[in-house]
């Protein structure tokens, strides 16, 4: 795997990543362990299964909520944000 380091932003903070690295792996490597709070009780969530099955590591990437951080590769300039609940507050009415 080539290793050309770049950064993406997580909640307005620059996070270093390498080609092919998942968003979750890059966040963990930077000491960030949670990037979602649950819908009902607002509890923190991050990686659980790490293989795309459990949907615990959901996060908002470039404005799209409910992306699995553990299977999505980081890209230079990605804007990653902590997901509050369902991440679809824009739809509430």
């Amino acid at each position: 795997m080539s290793t050309s380091p770049f950064t993406f932003s997580f909640d307005d903070r620059a996070v270093p990543a390498e080609d092919g690295q998942s968003v979750a792996a890059a966040l963990i490597a930077s000491g960030i362990r949670s990037w979602r709070v649950t819908r009902v009780e607002g509890r923190p969530r991050g990686v659980f299964c790490g293989i795309g099955v459990c949907f615990d590591c959901l996060v908002t990437i470039n404005g799209s909520p409910n992306q699995r951080a553990c299977v999505i590769e980081a890209h230079p300039g990605d804007v990653v944000r902590t997901q509050e609940g369902a991440g679809r507050a824009d739809l509430a009415c």
């Binding site: 369902a86 679809r88 739809l91």
Partner: protein, 374 residues
């Protein structure tokens, strides 16, 4: 259905054993949406059953805990996309109101106040505050839990393989495939085998034409409370009552306590075929987006399918079977089984304890199909 029968029969003081082929709620009940609807029924015996059921579910919600069942009296909203459909709907609601249904004809402004994200192409509709919902597997489990507390025994993973008859040929129990409980004697046996009830009735030599009608349901990612009611198009009613064998889709969209939005409801007569049909899922999704355009930006998590147990005349089969004394049926409720389960269990318990049933069971009699061909 079986759980509701066990609940009401034990409440009436009867001793009950439940024989379940698989897991609780794992056959017909768990494959639906948990609808408790009066809105989709035309005046007649099924509507009367639905009105009684609606009242009984409200009582069950109070007794068993609305939270536990995820019972929600969310109300239904029926949407008309054209002036012609709206006119037909107004005639339909007038008939329902005369039969005791609470139904209010509403215009676009009231529609959008009830459902802010609804398509602006809607021209009118109706609001049905009596429509409600439960989570079907939870409801089934809690009904059985209460029945067990009152002494019911439940045999899961046990298949009924035949009936025990006395020398007068009356049904006095069932045979099962269980090595520990191969014969269960009973004064009465209720056939509540869902979409497989026709097969079971056949084993008793008292056939009822309960057949499978396949329906898919789509499940979205969890959302905030965006869809507030059970929302469907006026065409749904026509499809429920249809005798057409081909695919019919008329979309029903509703939010759930869990946040996911459920999108139904297709109806196809394809036997017990469990193959996923992408064209059907696509059509449901497109119709849902037609009703709620914001859904075009929402992901689906999964779909599921179930087999709705229907009879050719679209009425359920409820009551004692004169062809097999001792056998009663509680089946054939098509896509309304959860909704109609409370009244069905209640009426059968009344019948078995000699009380005067709250509703006349004659329209639901099991031998009506044989009469029709005689």
């Amino acid at each position: 259905m079986g759980a509701a029968c066990a609940y009401y029969c034990t409440a009436a003081g009867l001793r009950v054993e439940v024989v379940e082929r698989g897991a609780i709620g794992g056959g017909t009940s768990g494959a639906g949406e948990g609808n408790i609807l009066v809105s989709d029924k035309a005046p007649g015996p099924e509507l009367e059953l639905a009105l009684l059921s609606s009242r009984l579910w409200r009582e069950l919600g109070a007794e068993l805990g609305a939270e536990a069942l995820e019972y929600e009296a969310k109300g239904g909203v029926v949407v008309a996309g054209s002036a012609e459909t709206a006119e037909g709907l107004r005639r339909f609601t007038a008939g329902q109101r005369a039969s005791g249904v609470h139904a209010t004809d509403i215009g676009p402004d009231e529609l959008f106040a009830l459902e802010p994200r609804l398509t602006r192409e809607a021209v009118g509709g109706a609001h049905y505050p009596q429509d409600a919902q439960v989570q079907p597997v939870l409801a089934t489990a809690h009904l059985l839990r209460h029945a067990r507390r009152r002494g019911a025994r439940v045999h899961c993973g046990t298949r009924v393989t035949g009936f025990v008859r006395d020398r007068h040929d009356a049904v006095i129990g069932v045979r099962t495939d269980s090595p520990t409980a191969p014969v269960r004697h009973a004064r009465w046996v209720i056939n509540a085998a869902g979409t497989w009830a026709g097969e079971l009735a056949g084993l008793a030599g008292a056939p009822v034409p309960v057949l499978p009608r396949r329906g898919f349901v789509l499940v979205t990612e969890p959302l905030p409370r965006v869809v507030r009611h059970k929302v469907y198009t006026a065409e749904y009613v026509a499809n429920v009552a249809s005798g057409d064998a081909g695919l019919e889709t008329s979309v029903v969209v509703e939010g759930t306590r869990g946040g996911t939005v459920l999108i139904g409801a297709s109806r196809e007569r394809v036997g017990f075929d469990r193959e996923i049909s992408l064209p059907v899922l696509r059509r449901l999704a497109a119709q849902a987006i037609g009703l709620f355009p914001f859904l075009s930006g929402v992901s689906l998590l999964r779909s599921y399918l179930g087999f709705r147990p229907y009879c050719p005349d679209h009425l359920p089969v409820i009551g004692p079977d004169p062809r097999a004394p001792g056998l009663l049926h509680a089946c054939g409720h098509e896509g309304a089984g959860i909704g109609l389960a409370s009244a069905t269990g209640h009426l059968l318990a009344q019948r078995l304890t000699g009380a005067e049933p709250d509703l006349d069971l004659t329209p639901f009699r099991p031998q009506r199909f044989a009469e029709a061909t005689a």
